[in-house]
């Protein structure tokens, strides 16, 4: 096992915010894929409940179904069977447009590869979800500016991604995820493409966001990253192996 990443100072105190309303209620969810003639059981009956103000890590080796679960949580995919409620609404029966709406308003994605639009500046990247939400231009720009300032990039709003460092790009992505004031932030290996120092900075930023009252779900295979969360859910072979507060 590699030497652990140093935890940010605030985490040493490790305060846990009180949990709020139930956001995600998953019961008995299964997901099957057909790959040619094979059927892959990615999830075999997962139960998971996530409340507001939680900071959660989902861990598991490859093949454990953690990517599938993440796609489910992100409303990018729907379960084959089982019950999934997001904010009290039944997701499993939603059509494509409704799912897109939930993704737009309630979920903030942070990807391992940042997934920024290369030919747009930071400001435009961050305002994109608001365009899809039908927000007028003035308000869009205000909120996007604010979001970028919140992640410490107020000075670089007109930089293109290729003019930003890896850490800065991820910050732009985080600002983008926050701009719609979503119910949850869903991060897939957020430090995977960053060096360890920058990774620490990003995790410190997550800590700040948690302190500000956001709900964070981080999907990772790295223990060091998962340790920053307050609760760790471990998956194996499509089932929840353990679900406990982080030590």
């Amino acid at each position: 096992m590699s030497s652990p990443l140093p935890l940010p100072a605030s985490a040493l105190v490790r305060d846990v915010r009180p949990a709020g309303a139930l956001v995600i209620d998953i019961a008995g969810v299964t997901k099957l894929y057909r790959m040619g003639t094979e059927t892959v059981h990615a999830l075999r009956g997962v139960d998971l409940r996530i409340h507001r103000n939680e900071y959660l890590a989902i861990m598991g080796p490859s093949g454990s179904g953690k990517s599938t679960l993440m796609n489910m949580l992100g409303c990018l995919d729907t379960p084959t069977a089982g019950h999934y409620e997001f904010g009290g609404k039944n997701v499993a029966t939603m059509d494509d447009d409704e799912l897109a709406g939930i993704r737009n308003r309630e979920i903030g994605f942070v990807f391992q590869t940042f997934n920024l639009l290369p030919r747009s500046d930071a400001l435009h990247n961050v305002e994109l979800p608001l365009i899809y939400a039908g927000i007028p231009k003035r308000e869009r720009l205000d909120r996007a500016m604010q979001s970028l300032e919140n992640v410490g990039l107020g000075e670089r709003v007109h930089h293109r991604p290729n003019e930003l460092s890896g850490g800065q790009r991820q910050r732009v992505a985080i600002a983008r995820a926050l701009v719609t004031r979503p119910s949850i932030i869903l991060a897939d290996e957020p430090t995977g493409n960053l060096d360890s120092k920058t990774g620490v900075e990003i995790l410190a930023l997550f800590e700040e966001l948690y302190a500000q009252g956001n709900t964070l779900i981080v999907v990772t295979h790295e223990e060091d990253v998962a340790r920053h969360a307050r609760r760790i859910v471990r998956l194996r072979d499509g089932l929840v192996e353990s679900d406990a507060p982080a030590q």
Binding site: L76, A100, R105, N115, P129, I131, Y132
Partner: protein, 415 residues
């Protein structure tokens, strides 16, 4: 609705950025559309030009003239029926004009006789063969639309006297009197001298065919003296063109009285008008136009295929971006709209470029080959732009649709 507007503006912004970022690729793609639009537009200008040319040629005849002839124009008339018909006599002209004078409210204006022959015209060593020579009265000047470049038409006196005077067309003048004025000079027709009174301004020929520029007009009496018995002459009656039906009725009635026909007998003459020619030409013209547009449309179709191809490539390249946009909340129709707009944008670039190029080419042709009919018009420009937009929608739809249907999970994994 507001959402749609923002998505639209975002799509336009993206389209512009895409074209700008891939200049070479966009240019090559647009080139297909440019060539297609140039072909279709030039075809359109040619059709316009043919229209204008036909109109101009027919205008020389005058569309407010009724021609009293033995037979209807152009019909495959029963020849034996025709053979037995009496000729049109120029005495009718006087009768008609007297009648018109008595009827101040007639839809008929004036009648002129019209004799036609083909003669050789010489001046010194210069010679022009088979010049169509019209014999008519001074009133003829009122019936035709052509105006004189120089000189004058013959007067009533000269007309009644059948004087040996002539008004010649532009090409006749330049052929017999190169580099000098023809007015006041003498030409020889059938061993008779004719004094040139005036030259008609240039009409231009329609694709090198019939033109008023190679014609000559002499007084009716002079024409008669060439010894042609006027069995095939015409009487032309100028009418108030707004009262065409009424005029035809009046003239028909008048002619029947002049010819002393029984009420029960059918007409033994025909009233022709230029509209008849136009009616016969129109279907031919439309047929040519359609065929021409179809063929040049194929060129545009090839351009459209290029657009479709490039849009598919673009979708494939940006699969991950599409996944990201969907993850951020873009709906299917948003993605569809985005790629459609991108395709339309390239087509518009091609369309505008093609129209500009076609306009330039039209100018060049006008300078180099002025008799070739090409007419650019605003209608053509608007049609060209509309065609570009439609081509973009048509060719971009399939790839845009496939983009909109991408599974975001799969798309996000795409490397």
């Amino acid at each position: 609705m507001r959402q749609l507007y923002y998505e639209l503006t975002e799509s336009v912004r993206i389209a512009g950025a895409q074209i700008y970022a891939n200049k070479l690729r966009s240019l090559l793609t647009a080139l297909g559309v440019i060539i297609g639009i140039v072909a279709v537009t030039l075809m359109g200008t040619a059709i316009n030009g043919i229209d204008a040319g036909v109109d101009r040629s027919l205008a020389g005849f005058g569309d407010d003239i009724l021609y009293v002839s033995r037979a209807p124009w152009g019909n495959r008339f029963d020849w034996w029926k025709l053979r037995n018909r009496r000729g049109i006599r120029v005495e009718y002209v006087r009768a008609i004009n007297e009648w018109i004078a008595d009827q101040p409210n007639s839809a008929l204006k004036v009648a002129v006789p019209y004799d036609q022959g083909f003669y050789h015209v010489t001046r010194g060593d210069n010679r022009l063969n088979n010049i169509m020579t019209i014999g008519t009265t001074d009133a003829y000047a009122r019936t035709t639309r052509s105006d004189l470049l120089e000189g004058r038409f013959f007067s009533e006196f000269e007309s009644q006297a059948g004087a040996n005077v002539a008004v010649i067309g532009y090409d006749v003048a330049s052929g017999l009197f190169p580099g000098e004025s023809a007015v006041g000079q003498t030409v020889r027709v059938r061993d008779q001298n004719f004094k040139v009174l005036g030259v008609v301004s240039r009409q231009g020929s329609f694709l090198g065919a019939f033109s008023w520029d190679s014609m000559m007009v002499i007084p009716f009496g002079a024409s008669r003296r060439f010894g042609r018995v006027n069995t095939d002459g015409d009487v032309q009656v100028q009418i108030d063109v707004k009262r065409l039906a009424e005029a035809k009725d009046e003239l028909r009635g008048l002619m029947r009285r002049i010819r002393q026909l029984d009420p029960a007998a059918e007409d033994d003459f025909a009233l022709n008008e230029v509209g008849t020619i136009r009616e016969r030409i129109d279907p031919i013209k439309n047929g040519i136009a359609l065929a021409g547009l179809f063929i040049t449309g194929l060129a545009l179709f090839v351009g459209a295929i290029g657009i479709m191809n490039i849009t598919y490539v673009s979708v494939k390249e940006r699969t991950k971006e599409i996944g990201t946009r969907k993850a951020l909340g873009a709906r299917r129709r948003t993605i569809l709209l985005q790629f459609l707009i991108e395709a339309v944008a390239i087509c518009l670039v091609g369309g505008v470029g093609g129209l500009a190029l076609a306009a330039g080419l039209t100018q060049i042709v006008a300078v180099v080959a002025p008799s070739f009919p090409l007419v650019f018009s605003l209608g053509l420009v608007l049609t060209g732009l509309a065609v570009s937009v439609f081509t973009g929608i048509f060719s971009g739809f399939a790839p845009a649709w496939s983009a909109s249907k991408l599974d975001p999970v799969v798309a996000l994994r795409y490397e």
